[in-house]
């Protein structure tokens, strides 16, 4: 067993884990963060996507021990102070989910996409989400939701400066500082 310390959705956790434990297993089984789900065993589907220090990773594709000293944001930590993240709202508004199983990963990946490219073309969105599978929607409304969130981001960005990956104007900076301090 190895001891790790991870900050997940704003809470610090310190646990003994088996070295082979995947990050997604740690999140689900040790922390009860079942909003993050497992859809495959080959890292193709992206259902388990979370943010590690603000960047999207497939949590089935890294070990819990690799997250030691880092900051993880899951779908459950995206809404701040009871207010949905713009992408969560956009997914709802645009009917970008049906069964909803891929949705947490899809939203987390879309956050990352917009962080790196706040004004993506349709093709850039499609390519940016290529690592996340959805069987219900045919992707059309997911693309629409990301476009809507990008438009909103642009509008609010013009008013109040740059937004961050998790949609909160100040949190990313805090997150980066935290990571810098612990890693």
């Amino acid at each position: 067993m190895t001891r790790i310390t991870v900050n997940v959705d704003g809470t610090k956790y310190s646990d003994e884990v088996e070295p082979r434990t995947l990050l997604v297993q740690y999140l689900r089984e040790s922390l009860g963060k079942t909003g993050t789900v497992i859809g495959c065993d080959t890292s193709n589907c992206g259902a388990c996507t979370v943010h590690l220090d603000g960047t999207s990773v497939k949590s089935c594709n890294m070990l819990a021990v690799q997250a030691d000293g880092h900051e993880v944001t899951t779908i459950e930590g995206l809404a701040k102070n009871g207010e949905l993240h713009p992408l969560q709202t956009a997914f709802h508004e645009c009917h970008a989910l049906q069964c909803g199983y891929c949705t947490p990963g899809m939203i987390m990946q879309s956050c990352d996409l917009l962080k790196n490219n706040p004004d993506p073309s349709e093709q850039e969105i499609r390519e940016g989400l290529e690592g996340n599978l959805c069987r219900c929607t045919g992707y059309q409304n997911i693309v629409k939701a990301v476009q809507q969130a990008a438009r909103q981001g642009k509008e609010s960005g013009q008013q109040s400066g740059q937004g961050d990956a998790d949609g909160n104007p100040v949190d990313l900076n805090e997150a980066e500082q935290t990571v810098g301090a612990t890693s």
Binding site: R20, T34, C40, L84, F91, H92, N132, C136, T137, G138
Partner: protein, 832 residues
């Protein structure tokens, strides 16, 4: 005659029906507050891992569990022998003939396995990881037996999938229009056409597909004393409960089945599975709650597959293109066992191959066959995509033979809108439709004439990238199903649906539905229906489903039946509530019932300003202080609705594909569909169903296929090899509607869950074949990979036309290869 309108006639300004309501379901799904079965835990819960056969066909000679049992955290290792008397059986609910050959399907194999992936032992451990570790330690000795994998070989009975049965031929089912009196003699029609008409004969392949829902299946069983709760990722909680009782000897009243949040199904979760039955048997044996969650590889291997048919069609027509007969011979692969619907899936095609066309004579023959592969059952569309594919492909072949536009030939033969209701040659009565209107709208949105002109221009200029236009004018039968018809077909259950409405004292309304949603948005759509019907606020309606202790009666969700059958049950329950409330309202208002009018949620005394809202009546019923003498103090109501007929959505789908004739690469340029699904309750949900359905149908045409190697190993056993389309593979689709309401239910709905999948596959393949038909190509096997398209062009019967462009040279003469020959000996002289 039916009327086609642009808007549903229910779309009054304040009406909920027709409104693009955002879904009530979304909040928990976008925030991760979901209750997928695998998210659930029960105190003391143990975890199961399955030991599965690597062989397609083998006798189990011995199983040594000693090492596994000794491993850390392992509670027990259980074999089929251990639970053979209590594990029940995976039943076939639809033996299509009385003499169907049906192998017994045990959840955990006892002495022989008939396909790779069958469960032979189950490890029970404290954690999932310990269970899986120990599963590796179970030592199973097998004696391999010859396996039959190919469908046509299996039909020849040289190698037998189940030696004790003596044959692979499972059942033969026939519909003949002359014999049943619904049409003429097809052999005579074909014989006549051979002398003075046109006969088109084709054989098409429906490759095997995997439903590939995103949530892997999971089951958690908690045996609480005599009673038992089963949480399962299933489409069919009610059917599961019935079959547990029927095959395991557990009283139905002791069983509660809950389908919590279920992550997609597409037919793939309408099975009662070996994993469910094994988990139930083991949790009861140990008296402990047990959970099993499959891995994706297990899901692809052991969840049922879909399609897998060879389809021989003979179409006869007069020289002017008027069709005179259609004969269909199907070979359908059942896999190793006859699954819950099993042979019924291809048989559903019996009423669909003739589609929207007026064939005077028709015959449908279906031979179901057993092989040593994963069992096959319903996958989105279930029998209807297969039929639609074949008929839409061969209608294009007829048009090509005639040298005419494929839409024009279809129009010459389809049922015109004046002819409804129309009884088809297969004996189905289509109640409504307007194929002309849907097609006209689709052509306009598509820019059909412009794209045809561009296609001609590319042909004339020998453009290496050719353009093809694919047409699919489909219909389907939804709303499964009138119970009497199911009885005539030997199906083991009815096709009704149940709903209850509870009128709460505070004015809120609870709707219990026997439909079991797994992504379709029933909570939202049912709320809209009830809000309109009872005149209450959309927000005040709560829809409860997926728990047999709450919604105790139901036939669940599949076959685009929820809205058409389940929605109608909700409407009828609401009408009963109104009828009950009216008696109370009349009493409370001191008026005659005849003088009351129910409008927008209020009972009003005609000609006065006196009235009562239905919520006020509910409160009065709750209090019970002032009700008519002897009245039961409740206005709650139940309804069980058995449909009188199927519903028949239809539509016109048009697809433009660009085909690079030098590489075989295909690119979708444009896709337009105009669907007539009757009245639309929620256009947003409908659009979502269409998009998702389209992509699954397009995926069959272009990307997906379950492939086995010669040993019977599924080689597309992960998402690396079973290639679901991604966002980058797909485009935006143009979808629109015409509306000719169904006449067989109150709301005029027809069903939409499967439409996109049924219609799109032939549209895409027709487009690809259309693009390269000038090369002498008349078919490409699905999935139409670049390699297959390229080979079809190479082996096509037509030589390149005069002036056809040669393929561009890969390298200029004398120019160096991209690899430097000095540093890479292995690539010398070799262009890749």
């Amino acid at each position: 005659m039916t009327i086609t309108e642009d808007r549903p006639d229910t779309a009054a300004p304040d009406a909920e029906i027709g409104k693009a309501r955002r879904r009530k379901e979304d909040q928990r799904l976008i925030t991760g507050r979901t209750r997928w079965t695998d998210n659930l835990t029960v105190p003391g819960m143990l975890h199961l891992a399955m030991v599965r056969s690597p062989f397609a066909h083998a006798n189990i000679t011995s199983i040594n569990t000693d090492e596994a049992k000794a491993a850390s955290g392992v509670i027990d290792v259980i074999t089929g022998e251990d639970i053979k008397d209590v594990q029940g059986v995976n039943a076939n609910a639809w033996p299509i003939t009385t003499d169907q050959v049906t192998p017994t399907h045990l959840p955990v194999a006892v002495s022989r396995v008939a396909c790779a992936g069958e469960i032979v032992a189950v490890v029970v451990a404290r954690t999932p990881a310990e269970a899986r570790d120990a599963a590796e330690l179970v030592d199973v000795d097998y004696e391999e037996l010859p396996a039959v994998l190919d469908l046509k070989e299996a039909a020849a009975d040289t190698v037998i999938a189940h030696p004790d049965l003596g044959t692979n031929k499972c059942a033969f089912w026939k519909l003949d229009s002359a014999e049943q009196g619904s049409g003429g003699d097809v052999e005579a029609a074909i014989a006549k056409a051979r002398t003075d008409g046109i006969v088109i004969e084709r054989e098409y392949r429906q490759q095997r597909l995997i439903p590939a829902f995103m949530e892997p299946r999971s089951v958690l069983v908690d045996p609480t004393g005599e009673q038992m709760i089963v949480w399962s990722s299933t489409q069919v909680p009610h059917i599961l409960r019935f079959l547990i009782a029927a095959t395991m000897g557990i009283p139905e009243s002791k069983i509660r089945v809950i389908a919590p949040d279920v992550g997609g199904g597409f037919g793939g979760k309408l099975q009662t599975t070996p994993e469910e039955f094994a988990t139930i048997a083991i949790s009861r044996r140990l008296g402990k709650p047990c959970k099993y969650t499959e891995t994706r590889s297990e899901s692809l291997l052991s969840g049922h597959h879909g399609r897998d048919q060879w389809q021989k069609l003979t179409l006869s027509a007069e020289k002017d293109g008027t069709v005179t007969g259609l004969k269909v011979d199907l070979l359908a692969d059942m896999g190793a066992y006859v699954a819950i619907v099993g042979g019924g899936v291809p048989v559903l095609g019996a009423w669909m191959f003739n589609s929207i066309y007026k064939f005077p004579a028709y015959q449908f023959n279906c031979q179901t066959v057993l092989t040593n592969k994963t069992w096959v059952d319903a996958y989105r569309g279930a029998g209807r995509p297969e039929a639609t594919f074949a008929i839409e492909r061969i209608m294009d072949e007829l048009a090509a033979e005639l040298g005419r536009d494929p839409i024009e030939v279809r129009e010459q033969n389809w049922i015109t809108h004046e002819e409804f209701p129309f009884t088809t040659v297969a004996g189905m009565t289509y109640d409504s439709g307007n194929y002309e209107a849907a097609t006209a709208k689709a052509k306009e949105l598509f820019g059909y004439d412009e794209l045809r002109a561009e296609q001609q221009q590319r042909r004339d200029s020998h453009d290496p990238v050719q353009l093809g236009i694919g047409v699919s004018t489909f219909t389907e039968m939804c709303g499964l199903a009138p119970s009497r018809i199911l009885g005539q077909l030997n199906y083991g259950a009815g096709g009704w649906e149940h709903a209850s409405i509870r009128m709460l004292a505070t004015g809120k309304v609870e709707v219990l539905t026997g439909s079991s949603a797994h992504g379709q948005g029933h909570e939202t759509a049912w709320s809209q229906i009830v809000a309109d019907r009872l005149g209450v606020a959309f927000e005040d309606v709560e829809v409860l489903h997926g728990d047999t202790q709450i919604a105790h009666r139901g036939m669940d969700t599949y076959g685009s039946r929820s809205l058409v059958v389940g929605g109608e049950a909700v409407v009828r329950a609401a009408d009963k509530v109104i009828a009950k409330a009216k008696v109370f309202a009349a009493h409370l208002l001191e008026a005659s019932e005849d003088d009351l009018e129910f409008k927008a949620g209020r009972f009003e005394v005609k000609g006065t300003d006196k009235g009562l809202a239905i919520g006020e009546v509910a409160l009065a019923a709750f209090a019970g202080h002032n009700l008519p003498d002897g009245a039961e103090p409740s206005i709650d109501a139940d309804a069980t609705y058995d449909p009188v007929n199927f519903s028949f959505p239809h539509g016109t789908h048009l697809c433009a594909m660009e085909v690079d004739t030098e590489t075989g690469a295909t690119t979708m340029r444009k896709y337009v569909c105009v669907d007539d699904i009757g009245t639309i309750i929620n256009p947003l949900i409908v659009e979502g169903q269409i998009h998702g359905g389209l992509v699954q149908g397009i995926a069959q045409a272009l990307w997906e296929g379950a492939e086995y190697d010669e040993n019977g190993t599924l080689v597309t056993g992960s998402f690396v090899d079973y290639t679901l389309p991604t966002a980058a593979d797909t485009i935006n689709y143009v979808s629109d509607h015409t509306v000719s309401p169904s006449t067989t239910n109150t709301l005029g709905t027809k069903g939409v869950g499967e439409a996109g999948t049924i219609a799109s596959t032939p549209a895409v393949v027709n487009a690809i074949v259309d693009a390269i038909r000038s090369f002498g190509v008349n078919d490409v096997l699905m999935p139409c990979t670049p390699e297959r398209v390229w080979k079809a062009i190479l082996t096509g019967s037509a030589k390149p036309a005069e002036g056809e462009r040669e393929a561009a040279p890969h390298f200029d003469d004398g120019a160096p290869n991209q690899d430097n020959p000095d540093t890479s000996a292995s690539t010398q002289g070799g262009a890749q």
